[in-house]
Each structure stands twice: as C-alpha cells, then as structure tokens.
C-alpha cells in the first residue's frame, strides 16, 4: 500500500522516447485518468487510441486498473502504443446496418439506373418479393434499434479501418442480393410436380416453401432478440462483470442449454429462412459466409467461457447443438 504522491513517465513503446512526465499523480488514480492527463499534453492522442502497458510488448492495461495495485514503484514507467484512429462501435453499427436497409429499398423500388429504364419505379408482380423486402427491412431495423437500445458494448471503440471493411461486406452483399430478388426477371420458388397425365398445375407458386421459410425466419428473429435481451440483463448498467448466460423463463432462451452463442445460431437460422424464401443463390452465399464468420466468433467465445469459468456447462457447443 503506497502513501503519498506518485510520478508517472510514459515512453514510446517502439522508440523508447520520453513522451510525457506526470508528477503529482494520486496512487489511487486509474489508467483511464492517466490517459486523460496524457491526452492533455498530446491532444492528437485521445484516450481511446492510447494503449498503455507495463512492457513494450505486453498487453494493454485496462482503464479501470489502479496505479497503486500495479507492480510499479513510486515512479511508474509505462509504454505507449498508438492504436490508430478510432471510431465508436455505435457509429460503426449504425452505418453497417443502415446501408443495407436503404440499399435494399432502392432496389425494391427500382430506382433509376439499376434496371432497364422501362422498369423504373415499377413493382414486382411476385408477392414473395414484397414479403422478402419486409423481412429484410425488418431484420436491419431490428439490428439498428438493438444497437441503440439493447446492446451493451464492452469496448467503446474499434480501429477506423474496420468501418470500411465491414461496410464493404454488408453493403456489398445487400446490393448483390437485392439486385437479383427485385430484378424484373426474378424467378420465385416454384413447386415441381410429377408428370402425371391428369396433372393440372395450380396457378400459384411455391407457397408452401415460402410459408415454411417465413416461419423459420420469424422464429429466429424472435429468438435472436430474446438472446440479446437475456445477454443484456446478464450485466447491470455500468458493470463489467462477466457471467455465464443461462436459460430464462423465455422458451427462446432454453437453447442456452445446448449452445454457447445462440444469438449466432438464430442469426444463421434467419438467413437460412431468407434463402429458402427467395431461392436466390447470392443469398445462399451470404448465409454461408456469415455462417463461417459466426462459427469462428462462436468458437472463440466458447473457448474464453471455458477458460474463465471452471463450472461451465459441458453439454454446450459453440454454435450448433452437438455438432459445431
């Protein structure tokens, strides 16, 4: 337990240059407060882009770490690494999700310069195309509202270059899917019958396939939302404690018995439903790529749960019950 006042010097992790010298620092000051003080002397490095560490190649210290609990003397030496321009997670999510929402609608309303001019501002004759637009828009609207009101982010920011990468992915795929689903030559799901001599084809399309697909989609949307609410309730506002998620009274959360990241499971299910509904290969590709990415994330999350909690339920798989 240290009394009195400490001094802090901050060196560049690569060049070891002395960047900042802070005297009269309270022993109970947090890294977060030290970051603010560093920011005052170097205004171009706001707190979010500072990585402060005890060792030039070591891990970043957390904002909540207190000076006197760190293995330093009365003069603490820290190393600084610039994380690069940062952007808040909320901003990234709003841009990522707002793009697909608007882009899809542009294709749905057949805004000029997308399809041949004679189709400008026309609407598709297939009812499944209207249904698909509602589902797609609902999905991204839900994501936007969850970003604003449901999700609690552990990190405030991410590197700026991520927004370009992420937006290219979401916007690119949304445009690619929307182009074909809303195309004048789009072919909706059609039922195939055996070539019976007394066969009379009904004047409808693959209603059954679309109906099943819609049920799957809606079920998974509700499921995904339920998981997001359950995860939010796991952590009271402002706290950073980590807990194992468990099933709640909501039946959609009972999947926690079998899976560590059911939000990804439900997300995969939603897109599978949308693929079935639209019978569009670009949608299938988007679902496949999303599945791969979410599996990687789920495995990582599952591994960190296992590392952090001794009593983690052994029956759970990362993303697909018993399988993956």
């Amino acid at each position: 337990f240290k009394h009195g006042i400490c001094t802090v010097e901050i060196l560049d992790a690569k060049t070891k240059d002395k960047l900042c010298f802070l005297d009269k620092v309270e022993p109970n000051a947090t890294i977060g407060e030290i970051k603010s003080m560093f920011h005052k002397s170097h205004p171009q490095w706001y707190a979010a882009r500072q990585s402060i560490r005890l060792d030039p190649k070591g891990k970043s210290l957390k904002d909540e770490d207190v000076l006197q609990h760190l293995p330093v003397g009365t003069t603490a030496t820290f190393y600084f690494r610039d994380l690069g321009a940062q952007i808040s997670w909320v901003t990234v999510f709003l841009t990522e999700y707002g793009g697909p929402l608007l882009l899809y609608l542009m294709f749905y309303f057949r805004v000029p310069f997308i399809y041949a001019p004679k189709y400008d501002f026309t609407t598709s004759k297939h009812w499944v195309v209207h249904l698909a637009c509602m589902c797609h828009s609902f999905h991204y609207l839900k994501r936007l509202l969850e970003t604003l009101f449901v999700h609690r982010f552990s990190h405030g920011t991410m590197p700026l270059r991520n927004i370009f990468k992420n937006c290219t992915y979401y916007w690119g795929f949304a445009a690619w899917m929307a182009y074909y689903i809303n195309h004048p030559l789009y072919t909706p799901p059609i039922r195939y019958y055996i070539n019976h001599p007394l066969y009379t084809p009904p004047p409808i399309y693959g209603e059954q396939q679309v109906r099943i697909a819609l049920i799957i989609f809606l079920f998974c949307q509700v499921g995904n939302f339920s998981i997001h609410i359950a995860l939010r309730n796991l952590r009271p506002p402002g706290s950073k404690t980590r807990k194992i998620p468990y099933p709640t009274k909501n039946p959609f959360t009972w999947i926690f018995l079998l899976v560590s990241c059911p939000n990804y499971t439900y997300e995969l299910g939603s897109w599978f439903g949308f693929t079935l509904m639209t019978q569009c290969l670009p949608v299938a590709f988007f679902t496949a790529v999303g599945f791969i990415q979410m599996t990687v994330w789920a495995k990582g999350k599952h591994r960190s749960y296992l590392k952090e909690f001794r009593d983690y339920p052994p029956l759970r798989s990362p993303i697909l019950p018993f399988v993956l």
Binding site: D82, T187, Q279, L281
Partner: protein, 242 residues
Amino acid sequence: MASMEEDGSVEEKDNNNKKRTKSAIAVAWLTFYNIAMTAGWLVLAMAMMRFYLQKATHKGLYKSIARTLKFFQTVALVEVGHCAIGIVRTSVIVTGVQVCSRIFMVWFITNSIKQIQNEESVILFLVVWTLTEITRYSFYTFNLLNHLPYFIKWARYNMFIIMYPLGVAGELLTIYAALPFVRKTGMLSMRLPNKYNISFDYYYFLIIVMLSYIPLFPQLFFHMLRQRRKVLLGEIIVEKDE
C-alpha cells in the same frame, strides 16, 4: 502471378522423439515433392526449348506442352495443404491465392480459349513461370537438404525483380487477347431468368480480374522486396503494429 512465397523450410522442433519422427516424415515428403517439382518444370523447360529449336516457331508450342503444364501446375495445390497442416511455414491464404491464380490462368484461360494459345504473351508467361518455378523448387530442395548454394538463394531473391513484371505482362496480355472470344461465345456465363436467381458474365469477370492486378501486384512485389532485404542483405525490418 509469379510466385513469391517466404522460405518454405520445415519448422525447427525441439529434441522430442515423437516430434522428431513427425518432422522426419515431413522433411522426407517435402524433399521428394520439391525434387519432383523441380524435375517437372525442368522437363517443361526442355520440351519448350526443343520445340522451338526444331520448329523455329512458337505456334503449336503451347499445345505440345499443355498436358505436362496442366499436371505440374495443378499438383501445386498440395502446397496449400502443406501450409494448412503446418509443415511449411507460410500463410495458407498467400499460397492459396498464388496457386489459384496459376490454376485460373491454365484452366480457365489458355485451356478453355483455344484461339489464344498461339499468342506471344502465352510464351512470355510460360518462360517466366518455368524459370521462376525451377529456381523456387530447387531453392526449397537445397534448403531442406541444408546445402543451399548461394547462387540459388541469389537467383530466388533477385530474378523476381524482372520475372515478376514480365510474368504479369504476359498474363494480362493473354487475358486481354481472350476477351473478344469470351464475348462472342458467352462461355461460362449465366443469364436471367433462371431458378437460382443469379447471373454471371465471364467477360466482365475477366475485366475485374485484370483490374485486380493493379492493387495486388504491387503488394506482392514489395513483399518480395522486403523478403529480399531481410534474406540477402540481413536487414532488420521493423514490422508495423501488430
């Protein structure tokens, strides 16, 4: 694009008997593989030289070596496997992109579009590939045998400066020559309406491929330059963050 992998030698394992046996099999296989590939590309080189010396023209040369080329270039896919299981310390993605771009040229350009097989640009990239691969595979072979003659190391890390741009030129000119034939036949293309609700235009796809050389070629080239500085000149390069 011409290959540009990092040193493909086997990881040093510590004195653990079990690990050493696994290493020995890996070393044996890789040595065999690299010798076989060196031989294969040497055979290709000699077949090309013999054809040109006998016929005094390059017309028909591609056709005469097509089978051998397809075989040895396609077999190179196993190198992706080597990286995946870890017996070669190179990124799977880098190797994958390399091999795929070669497979693409061989199978989807020169093999599929017969009319461009007698273009001079084809000979250009064939010569470049042959020289590059012979150097690369013999480099790996000697490395595995721990007897690397300096001139092979010198060749591997210097020839690319000329070979790489020439190879890119040969490939781009060939794709460009193929465009009118692709447009005329509509090969590998799919139009709407169809039950998968997707369309694909091979002609525009090839144009995008050609444009992609613009960002990709400099990256790969400068990567090789950095490797060269590290290996030949012993420079210590300070890597960027993380």
